[in-house]
Amino acid sequence: MAGSKYLGRILLVDDDESITRFYETFLTAAGFIAHSCHDLKTAKDLLTQYYFDAVLLDLHLGDEEGIGGLPFVLKVTPSTKVFILTSHGSIEKAVECMRRGATSFFTKGTEPEKILAEITAHLKPAAKGPLLDPETRKTIGLVGDSPAIKEMLAMIDKIRNVDSTVLILGESGTGKEVVARAIHQTSPRAAEPFNAINCGAIPEQLLESELFGHKRGSFTDAKTDRKGIFEVCTNGTLLLDEIGDMPLALQTKLLRVLQERQVTPIGSSMPLTINTRVIAATHRDILDEAKSKRFREDLYYRLSVVVIRIPPLRHRTEDIPALTSHFLCQFNQRFAKNVRPPSASVMARMMAYDWPGNVRELQNALERAVVLSSDDELSVSDIFQHMNLRAGTATSDETISRAVFAMPLTEAKQCFEKSYLEHLLTISGGNISEAARISARYRADIYRLMHRYGFDKGSFR
């Protein structure tokens, strides 16, 4: 089935290697890029490195329950479709998974052709017009009617027939991938694949191979030819997330690809013509990075043909009620609860808060509050539990919180970031995966911050 049309990227999670090998062989030949892993920890790492269109998740992962990975997938990449793989004896649990947000389930022994057909049917983009109707916006998580959001939607609409490179800027947690997906869905490329890769979370050598592909034997682990993401995503849209963290050497190669519309796989001398629309995103001040020579200025200008700035949540607090209602609906469904919308006084408190972690922080806070709620009411203490935890750790934190208001903004942000990281590492006992989970960031982000602020994880154990 060589030369099959690219169908998407799929993650196969089963503790049994012979099962993942079976599906990996079949689905790769059918046109998927398939990744396999055998435990939830590795699955979570992969999910923070790549965007997966689908996950095939076994219910029994040795001593772990596969169902435990479901909330993570739904939180990190809500548009990823999760398919449960189960034996005949666990159908009840598989049905429970669907209630919690899985798309479908298969019993082991289902013909791979049927599995392939069902997965691809769920991945096909809905036949919708170019404009984002309210229902589509809700599905992809682009919620809100504030002037800032309206302005952004107008911009997305304006560029829907333009094939230019787009640079999305926004603080962490503002929803850069959601916006990239919206741009793709309104473009003439909507029926083609959308793919995303996190440039900051993948080691340099692997990132080059992921982007441009490689020929067999071009380096030690290159056992077969592999297409790069630019090639498999040709005619579609590729999101280069955290572009500001891309190593300089790769920036040079990326610039060449964007200029020449050609990629040369590692170990090959034959360039391949590609037609991939690139959207880049970063939480960094990329112009500042360019001025400091950490980011190529020419690449910045190449990427920033159209720039979309996503406002932080504190600049569009009027969207908090709509976002709250959207997430409440999701979490009530997922956790089989019936938690009511917050009272006016609770909402006022929520709207007064700054939400430095933006929509992601609001989402996490509501998820926690729904889980903790015992009487179907949302209380301030449940919603701001993460702040209570923080306040309870050390008086120095409280001192910092007062002192930051006298600092320049950049310094205040760094001060908060350092304090936040210190607290995070304290409560996680220096466990990076746990710290990444709590903060809803990539592990690579935690390592980078630790390096920046000189923290050693051993000192938190």
Binding site: D16, S87, H88, T107
Partner: protein, 103 residues
């Protein structure tokens, strides 16, 4: 004749002639004696947890690789009461041997 056909059906994977999956099925059959050996040892030693784990895995593998009858027998071992396990195990081993011989 029909008995022969039934026998062929239970010992031959439905993916045996599949271009891509056929070689994987062969490799699966080659690994079958090892998997059976580990399960048999657990049954002999009466290690409940290990029996459940290994028979569950064997059942899932067999179903995936297109050996429905083998999967059913492995599931019988998984669900059998301790006193019935050896008998279920014997049937499983018997079919497994016939599958290996058909390779």
């Amino acid at each position: 004749m029909s008995g022969g056909a039934d026998s062929l059906e239970t010992t031959r994977s439905r993916y045996a002639s599949h271009d891509l999956l056929g070689p994987l099925v062969e490799s699966y059959i080659q690994g079958l004696p090892t998997a059976l050996g580990a399960l048999e040892q657990a049954v002999r030693a009466g290690e409940d947890r290990q029996i459940l784990r290994l028979s569950h895995r064997l059942s899932g593998d067999a179903a995936t690789y297109g050996f429905a009858a083998l999967a059913d027998l492995a599931r019988e071992v998984e669900l059998a009461k301790p006193q019935d396990r050896r008998d279920a195990m014997r049937q499983l081993k018997d079919l497994s041997r016939r599958i290996c011989r058909s390779l």
